[in-house]
């Protein structure tokens, strides 16, 4: 049979077989039979070299056209079969194959949660430098030089005459110096203290401080805001108590304890058998802090509070070693995806 006719014959035959095929296996077999290395179309192409030159181009073009046509038809039909899934027995118990999402660091999550609650109460988030001046970190906050209060916050000093902030309260000093009341701010961030690294203490930790200054702000407002925060963060139904404390930048000052949520105040290891957990320090902004910033402390009053982030995170998530946070073992991080 002349080659051209063979090609026409092959096309007719192949199209019919492809059209009738009902499985991927059959299609694959057809592909091999026609287009494989020893396939029928390939055989025609191989014979081209014996064709007289004047006819070769015409026949060659026809053979190629057939090859392309079959290829694309086969591909289309194979795809339609493949879409029906693999021809294995469907196993719904195989694990799904979505890629996993990463975990935001737990401290950032906790800090975010705390800020969110205060944001809901109208506190704006503000930041300041970690390397601070003595003035903003201490002096403006009524830590006089040579005052025992400075020993409450063991300090890292850096070369060049500054220090690593020991709390985020210097952001309060900066904002009070810059803005006019009403001011309602929350200041989350990293702080540093000269401590030995143990399961309970580290050289770096996070704090969320907040403060409000306006006309007529009272201690009752402070209590209201903090109680609302604790209920939201630790859950309804807990008991709380404020007891006097001392911070140079607030007067009167208080410590807020909440009833231990693990034992409901009965006493357990978490609360060292006291039934209470220390959560945050707070107080009315000391008039000298306002005066330092050029705010009339007769006209304006304010409150301030501050809480660590690691400690509530450890309490709430029952994490026993503070070093886990900076160790960044992914098995730890991924528990809080």
């Amino acid at each position: 049979m002349p080659l051209l006719e063979q090609i026409i014959q092959l096309e007719k035959e192949a199209l019919e077989r492809i059209g009738n095929s009902d499985s991927l296996d059959l299609l694959n077999a057809i592909q091999v039979e026609y287009l494989g290395r020893k396939g029928k179309v390939t055989a025609v192409l191989k014979q081209l070299k014996d064709v007289p030159p004047e006819k070769r181009q015409q026949i060659g073009a026809a053979a190629n056209k057939l090859r392309v046509k079959l290829e694309s038809l086969l591909k289309e039909k194979q795809t339609s079969f493949a879409d029906l899934g693999p021809k294995t027995i469907f196993d719904p118990t195989l694990p799904g194959t979505a890629s996993r999402a990463g975990a935001p660091h737990i401290i950032n999550q906790v800090m975010g949660e705390i800020c969110q609650i205060f944001y809901g109460m109208g506190f704006e988030i503000a930041h300041g430098p970690h390397v601070e001046t003595d003035y903003f970190n201490f002096a403006a906050l009524n830590f006089p030089p040579d005052h025992p209060a400075r020993d409450m916050q063991d300090t890292f000093f850096v070369e060049g005459g500054r220090l690593l902030r020991t709390h985020t309260t210097p952001v309060q000093s900066r904002i009070l110096a810059e803005r006019k009341p009403p001011i309602k701010i929350i200041t989350p961030g990293l702080c540093f203290r000269y401590e030995t690294i143990t399961t309970r203490s580290h050289v770096a930790f996070h704090q969320v401080d907040g403060f409000m200054v306006d006309e007529g702000v009272t201690m009752a407002d402070l209590k209201g805001a903090l109680v609302a925060f604790c209920r939201e963060y630790f859950g309804e139904g807990l008991k709380y108590k404020f007891r006097p404390s001392y911070f140079p930048f607030t007067e009167p000052s208080a410590e807020l304890d909440i009833s231990c949520f693990l034992c409901n105040g009965k006493g357990c290891q978490l609360c060292k058998y006291s039934g209470w957990l220390e959560i945050l320090g707070c107080g009315m902004i000391d008039p000298s802090v306002l005066e330092h910033a050029g705010i009339d402390s007769e006209k304006y009053t304010g409150y301030a509070f501050g809480t660590g982030v690691e400690r509530p995170a450890m309490l709430k998530h029952k994490i026993t070693d503070i070093r886990m946070f900076f160790n960044n073992d992914i098995r730890f991080l991924r528990q809080f995806t």
């Binding site: 890629s99 950032n108 850096v158 407002d221 960044n328």
Partner: protein
């Protein structure tokens, strides 16, 4: 500070049980942290008398003793060197449970039956002393329970005091708070000195050179004392306060300090070296030996008590060795002084030593309280040491410190607290605290009270301090909770905070875990990763591993990787959004900035249908491209650059809009090895301020296309050195603005291609916003593309 409950009861007259007393004190700011029964280990301990001691053959450390405990005589094995016949001792009988978990059972030691134990102070939980057994006073009756014999049934209350409350660092100080809380009065012990005819002034003169550092210095002289052991009642008080009894002179000084808060110091008068006390600043490099036998080279920071020539005490911190009271001391010079708290603080810092006295001076004592203290001690020297108290107190007090008058407006107090207290109630609180209200001639009127604050409360200087006293005594529970004072109406969110959240979402969404650094670095590792870059050094580092602030996020990320690899967490996709710090520049400007670090290492997750592969450079650039498209930044470019921490073959600057905005590469092998890392690590680090500047937050809508796209694929073979980025640019240029997307979707090098060549498959999608493209329009563009590729790169077009 530890104080026995009974002492507080004695001074305050309180009837509160210990637990209640502790709670109430805590709620008024005198925090009671712990209450412990003193006789916890005294059950089944009785008084015994040692009748007989015999050696045990073959044992030289232990002996056997016969001890009479009243109803029987026990045979006991004892190892204490101080055991003697005739002593009264504390005997733990079978069933007793001692401190440290020792339970007394019948035992055989070296074949000898022992049915009890003779106890040391530490076994009874009285002190840490376990050198020998506790020898009881001979007045203790044999067979009596130890707790009764020693009158030891009490509670020890531990107080955690805030640094502003120097006044509460004594039994009387705490009792004052109890009295204020219960509207009662404290009762100080009554005593009477019988002074000798001789006058103290004959032996002593006091001169103060630095009157602001030492506003008051007083002394008494007591002669003919006999140093001995203190009586049990005194030792017991000290033991309960956690202070080790030494001898009657030292014990009396400590006892009076614990009682009223005034530190005292006793010098040996005969070793004092002169009859003159001179209080002055130490000279530079002046040498001084403290009684713990340490030599100090002083500076004028230290206030020195001298005998006119040499130092005899570092004022308020520690006495000197030369004039220390010794067993042969007979005459003493007793010092009671008031030093400026800030001066003591500086001395203490300079000397780097602390003491019970220093803690009290530093927090501020009562300058007018020292007569009581010095008389009380003198009286006890008279009673307990047989001393003769010389008449008169030598007192140098150039400028008397008077009680402060502080104006107080009841309305202001209510305004600040949000309370509704009546003025009469506030006055009562002040009265209960021992404050008085000055009369109208001193400025008191209906709206303002002039409150006279005794000198034992130096912390109260201002109206607000008095307001705190009101809330402290009334309790915070009386202040209402109020929600409603809203402040500013609008709460903005700042772009940096939003950006940080957006980045965090973007990164975690792509499977990256967030790590968090503490800001410190090891200078050696920092210099290795970032040689020659300035580092902000910590002046007082607490370890060499944390001696600088980091100037790059890379060393910490590698440390985190090291920690993870040690736990066999080998496949990591991490990011950190953290700060780096720099020393001040030449103009004194300090700088710290947030950076984003991205790290990949190890293998992708393998599933039952996807094979895993190694993470590499392109995983990082992919993330950066996602970042740039999320924030509509101009196109990122990666240009080769030799960055020290990276492998020279894989080290690039990230550029955007012609500016360098970060670096990306593969960590150099030698550096990785310093972190015990063998596997390939790819890291990118980008300063956030640069990224933030390039963000386009306008996020404008682009109309969706109306006409269909027409796409063409093209396979070319080029030299392997030709860059894909250049090919894409050439294609874009040739295809003109009809080319909507150009992408590389396959890359092949191998058997079917000549050596030194590579095959790339390019997909070009053409679209016009004005009409459907005809296939000949597209073909024409495609011909131009092919032409350009041939011309520019000598590309060979592969037949498809």
């Amino acid at each position: 500070m530890k104080l026995p409950y009974s002492w507080l009861v004695e001074l305050s007259g309180s009837k509160w049980p210990a637990e209640e007393m502790g709670d109430r004190l805590t709620l008024c700011g005198t925090a009671c942290e712990d209450i412990e029964p003193t006789a916890r280990y005294f059950d089944k301990i009785v008084v015994g008398k040692v009748l007989d001691i015999k050696p045990i053959s073959g044992a030289d450390k232990i002996r056997q003793a016969t001890v009479d405990i009243g109803k029987e005589k026990l045979n006991l094995v004892c190892g204490a060197p101080n055991l003697e016949v005739g002593q009264k001792v504390a005997v733990a009988v079978i069933g007793a449970r001692l401190a440290g978990g020792i339970e007394i059972k019948k035992a055989r030691i070296r074949g000898i039956e022992s049915s009890g134990m003779i106890c040391s102070e530490s076994e009874l939980g009285i002190s840490q002393d376990h050198a020998g057994i506790l020898v009881l006073d001979d007045s203790c009756r044999v067979g009596k329970s130890l707790v009764k014999a020693l009158d030891y049934d009490d509670y020890i209350m531990t107080f955690e005091l805030t640094p502003n409350r120097g006044d509460s660092m004594s039994a009387i100080g705490v009792a004052r708070d109890i009295a204020a809380l219960s509207s009662s009065k404290i009762s100080r012990p009554k005593f009477k000195i019988k002074p000798s005819k001789e006058k103290a002034g004959k032996y002593l003169k006091v001169e103060i050179e630095d009157k602001s550092a030492c506003p008051r210095y007083a002394a008494r002289i007591i002669k003919d004392i006999k140093i001995a052991e203190s009586p049990w009642w005194l030792k017991k008080k000290l033991l309960m306060c956690g202070i080790r009894p030494i001898n009657n002179v030292v014990d009396i000084s400590n006892f009076v300090m614990l009682e009223c808060g005034q530190p005292l110091h006793a010098f040996d008068l005969n070793r004092f070296g002169s009859n003159k006390v001179v209080v002055r600043r130490a000279r530079k490099n002046e040498m001084f030996k403290t009684l713990d036998e340490k030599e100090h080279k002083l500076s004028p920071e230290v206030l020195l008590i001298t005998n006119g020539k040499n130092g005899v005490a570092a004022a308020g911190v520690m006495g000197g060795f030369d004039s220390e009271v010794r067993p042969d001391t007979t005459d003493i010079l007793l010092e009671a002084a008031y030093f400026n708290p800030a001066v003591i603080r500086r001395s203490r810092k300079f000397l780097n030593m602390t003491s019970e006295s220093q803690a009290r001076f530093e927090k501020g004592i009562d300058p007018n309280g020292l007569e009581y203290a010095i008389d009380r001690a003198a009286y006890l020297f008279q009673e307990l040491c047989g001393g003769s108290v010389l008449s008169g107190m030598v007192d140098c007090y150039p400028k008397k410190i008077a009680p402060r008058k502080v104006a107080f407006r009841p309305q202001r107090c209510n305004d600040l607290l949000g309370t509704d207290y009546k003025t009469s109630l506030m006055k009562k609180v002040f009265k209960d605290l021992g404050f008085t209200i000055a009369g109208s001639n001193a400025g008191t009127n209906d709206k303002k009270l002039m409150v006279v604050v005794p000198t034992f409360r130096p912390d109260i200087e201002r109206e607000v301090d008095l307001i705190e006293e009101i809330v402290r005594i009334r309790g915070y529970a009386e202040i209402p909770d109020q929600v409603g004072n809203i402040g500013p109406l609008f709460t903005p969110i700042h772009p940096q905070d939003k950006f940080k959240e957006d980045i965090r979402r973007l990164m975690t969404g792509q499977g990256f875990d967030e790590i968090m650094g503490h800001g410190f670095d090891d200078s050696r590792l920092a210099a290795l990763v970032n040689p020659g870059q300035p580092l902000l050094k910590i002046s007082n580092p607490n370890s060499v591993e944390l001696n600088v602030m980091r100037n790059s996020l890379i060393p910490f990320a590698l440390t985190v990787m090291k920690n993870n690899i040690a736990q066999r967490n080998l496949d990591l996709c991490l990011f950190e959004y953290g700060k780096v710090y720099f020393p001040p520049d030449a103009r004194g400007n300090w700088r710290e900035e947030y950076r984003l670090l991205i790290l990949v290492t190890g293998q992708t997750q393998q599933t039952w249908r996807d094979k895993s592969r190694r993470y590499d450079y392109y995983d990082l650039t992919g993330v950066l491209e996602n970042l740039s498209s999320r924030f509509k930044m101009p196109k990122l470019e990666f240009t080769g650059s030799s960055i020290k921490c990276f492998d020279s073959e894989l080290s690039f600057e990230v550029k955007c809009d012609q500016k360098v905005i970060g670096k990306i590469g593969k960590i150099d092998k030698a550096i990785a090895a310093r972190f015990d890392i063998k596997q390939a690590v790819y890291i990118a680090e980008l300063p956030i301020p640069d990224l933030l500047k390039l963000c386009d937050n306008s996020r404008l809508f682009e109309a969706l296309p109306i006409y269909p796209a027409s796409s063409r694929d093209l396979a070319i073979v080029v030299d392997e050195t030709v860059k894909a980025g250049d090919i894409v640019s050439t294609v874009r240029e040739a295809a003109g603005k009809l080319a909507e997307h150009v992408s590389i979707f396959d890359l092949y090098q191998g058997k079917q291609i000549a050596k030194g060549k590579k095959s790339l498959a390019i997909s070009i999608s053409y679209r016009s916003s004005e009409s459907s493209l005809e296939s000949n329009q597209v073909d024409e563009r495609q011909r131009l593309v092919v032409g350009s590729l041939k011309k520019e790169f000598n590309a060979e077009i592969r037949d498809k």
